[in-house]
Each structure stands twice: as C-alpha cells, then as structure tokens.
Amino acid sequence: MLGLERKDTLLLIVVAAITLFAPIILNPFPAGSALAQFNAGYPDLMQRFVIFGIFAIGFNILFGLTGYLSFGHAAFLGIGSYSAVWMFKLLSMNVIPAIILSIVMAGLFALVIGFVSLRRSGIYFSILTLAFAQMSYNLAYSVLTPVTNGETGLQLTLSDPRILDGASTGGLPVTSLFGAEMRDTTTLFVGPWSWDFSVGYYFSAALMLVAFYLSVRIFRSPFGMMLRAVKSNQQRMNYTGLNTRPYTLAAFVISGMYAGLAGGLLAAMDPLAGADRMQWTASGEVVLMTILGGAGTLIGPVLGAGFIKYFENIFSKINDGILHQWFAFMPDGLENVMVAVIHPFIGKGWHLTLGIMFMLVVIFLPGGLVEGAQRTGRLFRRRDRNADHVESDAARQRAAAE
C-alpha cells in the first residue's frame, strides 16, 4: 500500500492508530485520581510529542543514515518559528502559508549552513554546525532585534497589518486552519475519565504522519541506500563514481526542512518565537531523542521524542508534597527517608532521572528503545515455541527477509 512493503505499511498503520487515539491512550487514569498527574493526554503536551517527533524524524534522516552528527539543528527550528510568526503578523492567521514559509526558510538556511559545514566530517562538522547555531542564536537575541524582537521574542500585536485577514477587532486573533481554531478542544467525559480532542493536536499529528511516511520512503529509496553507503565508506563511494557531497547536502537540507516544519508548528500552536528555541541545549535535545529511541531506525526518534517530552513535563511536576502522599502509609521516619532519597530525581531534578535513563540505554541498548522492544519481542516469541521450532523459525525469517 502507498508504495510500501507490508511490514512498513503495518508500522505506518500502527503509528496512525496510536496518534489517532492518543488522547485516550495517554489518559489511562481517571481525572482526579492520585495517578492523574501521570496522564499526558492534554493538548499542549500531545502537540509537543508529535512536533518534536517531526523534529527527531528529520534529524534521523541526517544522523541515522549518513552518520553526520549535526549539533545545530535547533537553528532551523527557530528559523521555522520566526518565519511562521512573521507570516501570522503580515499575511494571515491561517497556518498553511505560515508553515510553508517555515519549511522554505529553514531549507534555504540549511542549504547555506550545510554547504559550508559539510566540507568537513566527524567532530569538525559537529563543531561547525554548533558554531552556526550559536551564531544564529546570538544574532536573534541581539543584533537582529528588528526582525526577532530580541529577548522579548516575536509576538502578535494588535497593530499587525495581516493583509488577508484585515485588522482584527477586540483581542489578539488566534491561529486557525480555514476557520478551525488550533486551540479548539472538545472534552469528552466517559465515567470518571476525561479526554481532550484538540484541533491543534490532530493537525500536528496529521503532518507528523505525512513526515513519517516520507521518511519511510526515503529510508527505502535508492537515495536512502546511498546515504547509508556514505556512512559506511566514503572512499568507496568516490571510487564508485558517486559524488558524496550533494548526497550529504540533500540529506542536510531535508532534515533542516523537517526542523523548519516542527518550528512552524510550534508557532502555529502558540504564536510566539523566542531565541531560546535556537540555543545549543535544544540542539542537544534532538540528538538525545534520536539516540535514546534508536538512531537509524524508523520509529525510534518518535519514541525518543515522546519519552523525553514526557519526562520533561510529567516528572518535573512531581513535588515533595505528592511524594509524602504516596508514602503516607509508611511510618513517619521511613516516609521522610524515602522522600529524601527520591527527592533529587523529581521536580527540578528530572534531568538527573533522564540522564540515568540515557546512560542505561546507551550502555545496555546501543540500538535505543527500539532495540529494547525487539529484544523483548524475541524473548516472548522464543518462550512460545519448542527448541526445534527455533531453527525453522529462523529459516522462515530469512525467507521473509528475502
């Protein structure tokens, strides 16, 4: 279907189903229950899941396939956001033109930055991209204040021209897709549960699915094979009559455009853009997402993005008061000890938890969460069958691979 192999089609369908039912799946605990703070099914967070999913999918096309580790991809995220907000200010509150401009602008910047950075490989490439991103950050923060509004960040104002929409009356206008407002949310109450279905989430999710589908196509294309060949042996590439430079540049621009799309969507959900979005920590975050989920795998980056955003938003909200509630059943002394032990890992200490998780994954599962899932899957399959079936199973797998 759609020009994909069976197993890729299946993966696409599963991902589509999960994104479709995410508002329900991510809210497994009844509202008001003690565990409700682990619910991630609110629009703002779900939008972050899919938007950073797009960012990581694009980053994976560059890093996962060619092995070029860019440390400056947040620059394209920021450029996407600024472009989108300018479109909201000047043209229309419709998100479509804003997102198109985000992708185009990020692509143009990626072309220039990639052209220079790709003259080097390995650590020098990483440093060059980092330098470019920090330059962009500092320019956005100070020198380019007329364009970026400096440290305040670029926002909508009542005096914006907005050629197509005309002057708005009353308050600030909101972003929309041909009239459907992005912030529109329908809440469904089923028993003790409440599920939020928001326009913004479904719009971002649809684009994430398109982005994911295109990345599967790239992975399975001759172009994708060439990118893996670049990672494997550039010398052989050159002596086989292939010019590696345009291949890596194309991958860089494509992944920059993905980042631009993510940045544009961030602005479409919340129309403001700040320089912070371009900082090196944001570039580092997408590297973490990709490696945590599994670099070079199809679904890994999305998993990694979801994982990190979940930690950032959920673990950081747990405070000592909540811990005391959990351990209330223990004797007082023990309760205080437990709270003191766990305290550094929650609230503002969520980075510590994430850091430990990251180390565990890199050491024990170099293929990321995807490898973890594969190993678990194999474990269960093995348990189901007798020993003599294992070999025939392996043979069948080999046949299926062919």
């Binding site: 196509r217 094979m225 893996r228 060949a229 494997s232 052989r236 590439m237 009559g241 292939l242």
Partner: protein
Amino acid sequence: MGILEVKGVNKRFGGLQALGDVNLSVKENTVHAIIGPNGAGKSTLLNCLVGKLIPDSGSVMFDGQSVLGRKPHEINQMGISRVFQTPEIFADLSVLENVMIPCFARRDGAFRLHAYETVRREAGIREQAEAMLADVNMADKRHMTAASLSRGDKRRLEMAMCLVQTPKLLLLDEPTAGMARADTNNTIELLKEIKAKRDITMCIIEHDMHVVFSLAERITVLAQGTPLVEETPENIKGHPKVREAYLGEAQV
C-alpha cells in the same frame, strides 16, 4: 596508442622525487603489471591515475581525454575502476546492496535525488547485481552483511563491485598483499576467470612475482620513480637491469 597514456609525469614530495619522467602506455585488452621495489613510486603513480594526487607536470590521457584535475568520482565515471590493497567495501550494507550501488552509479551518474523511488522496485538493477554475484560465485551470500565475509570473499565482492560497472580499465593495487598462498592462488584464478569471460584491460600494481608472472602480458619495472624497462614477462625474468634494481643485490 594505448587506452591509458602517461607521458612525462613528475611528482615531488618536498625533497623526494617520487616520480621522475614516467612514461607508460597500457594497450586495450591486455593485463599490464607495474612492478618495482618498495618506494619505487608504484602507489604514487596509481594515485595520479585516479585523481587522488595531481602530478607536478606531464600528462595522463585515458581514452583520449585528460584525467588530470578531475575528482576520483569523475574519473570512475570515465571508465576507470579501482581495487584497493585492503578491500574497500560498504561493510554495513548487505552483499547485494554493495553490488547494486555501483549499478546505480552507472545508470544515474554521480548524483541523483531518487528519494521517492523504492529500491525494491528496481528490478533491472537487482537482476544486474545478482547476475554479477552469480558470476563470482557469491549468489548464496547476497543477504549477508558485507562485514561478516571472509577476507577472500571481501576481495571477491570488491572485484564484483568494480566489474559490474564494466570498466574500460581496471586498476588493481596489490590485490594479493598480505594474503596466504591459498588465497593468493584463488585471487589469481579469479582474475584469470574474469579475463577469460570478458574483454577487459587491467593494470596491476604488484609485489608478488608469482602473481605478476601468472597474469601479466606486459610488465613495466619501476625503480626510484623512473621506469627501467617495459617488456613481456619472458624477457623481464632474465633482464640484467631488472635483476639489479628489483631482485636485490643479495641475489646477484
């Protein structure tokens, strides 16, 4: 006129004259060997032919066109393929993919943004690659990762990757360096087979006399960056100048 004409090539590295006035002519459909003691300039000469080094002076003409100043991928597209001293293959890719990539390079040129096509649908390329693998007796290994092949098979695979492009000239840089006797003999057999099956011009840089004398039709002896003689193998064996320069004083 040979398919490859090297005229008056000089190359200096600082104070060292690596190549001094090298003239070489490789005729079509012959196996031409370049031999010489260590440091004779064999590898420098080869690197000048494939675009890795640019000579200080002189000309290198291939098939009527100059190769000087062209990049390695451009020279490959002109029809020169190269086999390395240690096999250079795409270790992380499958054996079949390794052979498909040179097929794509021939069909689509140095770059093509074929990002929305599917490898699986490229039946022509796939058949071409599979036929080549069958030709070098590796059809059963096509789904293995190239890194897991034995050294001999890696060499075989690299040859297949070069041959599938039907090069006008195949350059081999010490194809048997560091091999055990049995592997060396296998490689000789492979090269003889290749030669028997198709019209191909080969230029071999080699250390091992056994290999050279079993394959070459013409031999150029290089010493201290200058060609001493160019002769048939029979005449090289007893040539006094060659004995002196190559076989070493100990044997004289």
